[in-house]
């Protein structure tokens, strides 16, 4: 009985239009959405041939069609050349620097039903939320590893982890860290401004897929189902004074080439509109073995993942690329300095867990459990420079003349 009932509920919710905003969601004037989606709808990875890739590789300043070619299957034989060029560009723009950070999950409550995600609200997992005191202890412990950059994460629940709560967590983080990023549910611009004033400067929001039909079919319920509100999150964050924004699609959810192209174009148009914004990419992927055979075409192996990273770097060499602990040590060690510019270390993806046992289950399994000291040594061994501090938070509440 219960089962049938909840099924009906889902069916009803599937009828909500993913293009309609909920009443509390801010609408902004922006043509970025149309620009990106029209380019993506015209993108056909198969139309690019070897000579398009060779041409793109011969240029210093790449345009969107070059980027498209580098993402295409035709670029596969050019991977080494792409990697060589990417390494040079990474060195040119970032020098030897590799930034270190770690995430801290402060809550894993979630209101969304996303079929691919371990945090989804229908999944029976251990839920938890850190108290402010627990957050302080976790952050203090993390800071003792030497890290100066923290990424605060929550599941997407405005009820269980509201703006005030996240704001307080940021204020605590500010006493231990020089760089604070957030990866939480999308906000309105005034809410981003508030969190910026609390001390956060960087915002990550992942669109998962830019294919509306697919998006609708995997986000069954919850506010996340509203596609354009999520799309415009980076822009609202910048309107709220944030310093940098990060982009990413969950590669493998849909056609990864199309989604990677969309992600790049999203970043491209945002950068043009907000030239001072720091742009970064993350590349979460669905592991091929999770998918069934009929989804093989969407499979994103390490080769494909590397190709996407290189294409991002060649297209926007000044943008940062973060390499996740979802990837194994071997892959991470070989991408850092070639295209990746930022790497997490000492990662726990459960809620809390740096001091005491985790209070909530993790969103995904990590593949690289190395400590900060171990990642530090690896970077040095590669002849690169681990960087702990590379940012000064200027947006806090005490922005006035403090002399």
């Amino acid at each position: 009985m219960m089962k049938a009932n909840s099924k009906m509920k889902i069916t009803q919710k599937m009828k909500t239009d993913p293009m309609s905003y909920l009443s509390n969601m801010e609408k902004i004037e922006s043509d970025v959405f149309e620009k990106v989606l029209s380019m993506v709808s015209n993108y056909d990875a198969e139309q690019y041939k070897a000579h398009d890739v060779a041409y793109a590789l011969s240029k210093d300043r790449l345009d969107p069609s070059d980027f498209a070619a580098l993402l295409s299957p035709a670029a596969k034989p050019y991977l080494e050349e792409m990697a060589q060029k990417s390494k040079t560009l990474t060195h040119k723009h970032f020098g030897n620097s590799v930034q270190l950070f770690t995430p801290l999950y402060i809550s894993n409550y979630c209101e969304n039903h996303c079929v691919y995600c371990g945090f989804n609200c229908k999944n029976k997992i251990k839920r938890g939320k850190l108290s402010l005191e627990e957050i302080r202890i976790e952050l203090k412990t993390i800071s003792e590893t030497g890290l100066k950059e923290i990424l605060l994460l929550t599941g997407e629940s405005r009820q269980k982890s509201d703006i005030q709560y996240i704001g307080e967590a940021i204020k605590i983080a500010k006493t231990y860290f020089s760089t604070i990023g957030i990866e939480i549910y999308p906000l309105n611009s005034d809410e981003y401004r508030y969190l910026h004033e609390c001390g956060a400067d960087f915002v990550s929001v992942y669109q998962e897929t830019y294919n509306l039909e697919k998006y609708e079919s995997v986000h069954l319920s919850g506010p996340k189902r509203v596609f354009p509100y999520r799309f415009h999150a980076q822009e609202r964050a910048l309107m709220g004074g944030m310093y940098g924004v990060s982009f990413g699609a969950l590669l493998g959810l849909d056609d990864f080439r199309k989604d990677a192209f969309a992600t790049g174009m999203h970043a491209y148009w945002i950068q043009r509109k907000y030239p001072s914004a720091e742009i970064a990419f993350s590349l979460p992927r669905i592991r091929p073995y999770i998918n069934h055979e009929e989804k093989q075409t969407h499979g994103v192996g390490e080769v494909e993942l590397f190709q996407v990273m290189l294409a991002y770097k060649l297209f926007m060499p000044y943008a940062g690329i973060t390499i996740s602990t979802r990837e194994n040590a071997h892959f991470r060690d070989h991408t850092v300095g070639v295209c990746a510019t930022k790497i997490s270390a000492g990662v726990v993806v459960g809620v809390g867990g740096h001091v005491e046992e985790v209070k909530g289950d993790e969103q995904f399994e990590i593949s690289d459990p190395r400590s900060v000291a171990e990642i530090h040594s690896m970077i040095l061994l590669k002849g690169l420079q681990p960087v702990y501090s590379n940012h000064i938070a200027l947006g806090g509440f005490n922005t006035g003349d403090d002399r």
């Binding site: 030897n96 720091e278 530090h376 690169l384 420079q385 681990p386 590379n390």
Partner: protein, 257 residues
Amino acid sequence: MKDKLIIGGHEFNSRFILGSGKFSLDMTDAVIQNGGVEMATIAVRRANKNGEANIIDFMPKGITLLPNTSGARSAEEAVRIARLARELGCGNFIKVEVIRDSKYLMPDNYETLRATEALAKEGFIVMPYMYPDLNVARDLVSSGAAAVMPLGAPIGSNKGLLTKAFIEMLIDEIELPVIVDAGIGKPSQACEAMEIGCAAVMANTAIATAKDVALMATAFKLAIESGRAAYLAGLGRVLERRGEASSPLTGFLGEIL
């Protein structure tokens, strides 16, 4: 021969200013020694007091620190970063960098001018990084700058003196040291900058991206010294700029003279 670089009343024997952001910290000392460097920039945002990989800890004693305001997007932010530099004990020099462009990292001359004015009033020795615009350079002088630092080419591009004609205007018209900052990719380009009369050259990427970083620092030192000597010797006076053997246009005056 006494040929000192003087910035804000401080004397330097070396005209090679090192940017430090792009190479590994453990190379700092070798680069500074080989390059004969007396002044090196540090990004205040890279300072990590009492922490890991603190860039300031890697600077040898006796070097003059030139903290920069990288990360600032407005004059106000630059001023706040400069004050932080002072609190960190980095001295009174400040290189003003105000950049509102994450793609090309082009300096914003307007905000740079405002920051320079504010910081000079606070007693800083201000060295603004700028796009070489003569009018702005004049305004920087009257705002209290201690030097001007025009870019030779887009930062990190290693393209050399793309803005040469405009830098030459600054050299001719500005009473302060003109220091080329950004774009210098090879010792020969550093030499060229010195030959045309730049007071010093700043470089980072060119050295950081070399195969042998320490040796490249030596190469830059020699090139800068060579270019300076050529400038002092009067480059091209005999060979290019004036007719030498005869006076075809005034010779007819011979009988009068």
